[in-house]
């Protein structure tokens, strides 16, 4: 069936992109294949693993459960906006220090979910940190070091105002 393609305009990490895509193109595939931003990883592709987490207008969302066309006019943040190999972002640096990754496949999703958490969630106890992290799956670390990294970041941030 020929689909009517749709033109959309999105800002990704502050850079505006315009593209014309099929309605069924997932935002995760759009970021990776159309924009070449392969930092956003694709794991389960049905909203279970959290690897594809990005921020839409400042709130975390699973990009595999979002259509690219739904992001028209939206400000997207991906892991590419966090830092670079030479200059790690603060969350990335905390992950490095705490050994909060092994294979790294799930890490971009964790980094973006944690970005949302640090902006909006109290994270006053390990229980709260674990609950906030519970939508992201990691098969290597056993989560302990990820919790350690978030605990340090939350302490550094201080209470939410």
């Amino acid at each position: 069936m020929p689909e009517k393609k749709i033109t959309l305009s999105v800002s990704v990490n502050g850079v505006v992109h315009t593209a014309t895509v099929e309605p069924r193109m997932l935002l995760s595939d759009f970021l990776r294949h159309e924009l070449g931003l392969t930092g956003t990883h694709v794991g389960c592709e049905h909203g279970v693993c959290g690897a594809c987490t990005v921020l839409l207008d400042g709130r975390s969302a699973r990009s595999c459960l979002t259509l690219a066309v739904q992001a028209d006019g939206v400000e997207i943040e991906t892991v590419e906006g966090q830092g670079s190999i030479d200059r790690l972002g603060r969350i990335q640096e905390a992950f490095r220090q705490h050994h909060a990754l092994q294979c790294g496949f799930c890490t971009p999703g964790f980094i973006m979910a944690i970005t949302d958490m640090l902006r909006h969630h109290p994270l006053e106890s390990d229980d709260q940190i674990r609950e906030a992290l519970s939508g992201n799956i990691c098969r290597c670390t056993g989560y302990e070091h990820i919790v350690n990294a978030v605990r340090e970041l939350a302490k550094e941030r201080g209470p939410l105002t």
């Binding site: 959290g50 969302a61 699973r62 595999c64 739904q70 979910a113 992201n136």
Partner: protein, 300 residues
């Protein structure tokens, strides 16, 4: 990307600007259209091609559907109100504390950012919190089609697992639920394999204490049948009684007779029946304790 690399089957996409526009597009799709709001249940099914709509009608950009409003003793929740909004809403916290508590069990942070109250009710998963809460709080669903508006009581809305009374040209614009009198006590108990996962079993109950006994008892369950359940037999058993260990034992025994849960990979029917009793006892003790505190005027 080539055609065969795309996860979903092809469909057209329409971002409706008004509820009337959405209703027209849904009617024109002749049963093959799907409404999308948060998409946290629909998109997984589309990605694995369990659902193959010819057109996806997006209601996210319709103004005015993202509100929680109090109308008298009822609270209206619009079709694009996200779980995060329900979880943090002051009206919900103040007037329906059991719903505020229930929100802690709904999925995960990232899913709560997008998923909607009304969408969860429409998806009608028998182990999801919002369908059960809608039933417990005497919900009234407002459905719109080009034929007009229709109001459907929650007791008529859930007809089976993932099945509702909505006609193919109808979609939900809002759901109205009861607020609770301030002296109401509540208990919400859920057991799942991991926090945020779907429940193996859950109990939600509310009651008031009048002249020393339980009144206005509501008792709901989920995860133990094809739909969320209100259990009038249990409500009658508790109505007019004090919550004692004897009564809790009677409730446990009655639940064993009343419930016919499924066995699946997560739990056996027997285990679910056992959970039902254990969760019911905890929830009823909580409800009684809270009602006691609130009756005495303390801010529980």
């Amino acid at each position: 990307m080539g055609d065969d690399e795309m996860k979903p089957a092809p469909f057209e996409y329409f971002a409706a600007r008004s509820a009337a526009e959405a209703a027209e597009a849904l009617a024109a799709a002749n049963g093959d259209g799907k409404i999308i709001a948060g998409g946290q249940s629909l998109m997984p099914m589309i990605n694995v091609r369990l659902v193959k709509p010819t057109i996806l009608i997006d209601i996210n950009r319709i103004a005015g559907l993202d509100r929680i409003e109090k109308h008298g003793e009822r609270l209206g929740i619009g079709a694009t109100v996200r779980h995060r909004m329900t979880a943090t809403d002051a009206l919900v916290h103040r007037h329906i504390p059991i719903l505020h508590d229930a929100m802690h069990h709904v999925a995960h942070l990232t899913v709560r950012n997008r998923g909607t109250f009304c969408g969860s009710v429409c998806h009608a998963d028998p182990a999801a919190e919002m369908p059960m809460m809608t039933l417990l709080l005497n919900g009234m669903v407002t459905a719109l089609s080009i034929r007009g508006e229709r109001r459907i009581a929650a007791s008529e809305f859930f007809v089976g697992s993932l099945m509702t009374a909505l006609e193919q040209d109808e979609f939900v614009t809002s759901i109205e639920i009861d607020t609770l009198p301030p002296e109401t006590g509540w208990g919400f108990e859920e057991f799942s394999r991991r926090h945020g996962d779907f429940a193996l079993a859950s109990v939600a109950t509310t009651l008031r204490i009048i002249d020393g006994v339980a009144r206005d008892v509501r008792f709901g369950m989920m995860g133990v049948g094809e739909t969320p359940l209100r259990l009038p037999d249990i409500e009658t058993l508790i109505e007019g009684q004090t919550i004692s260990e004897t009564l809790l034992q009677d409730v446990t025994e009655a639940l064993k007779e009343l419930l016919h849960p499924n066995t699946d990979i997560h739990a056996s029917a027997d285990y679910r029946r056992h959970l039902a009793g254990a969760l019911a006892r905890r929830a009823l003790r909580d409800a009684w304790a809270r009602a006691t505190l609130r009756k005495d005027g303390a801010n529980a």
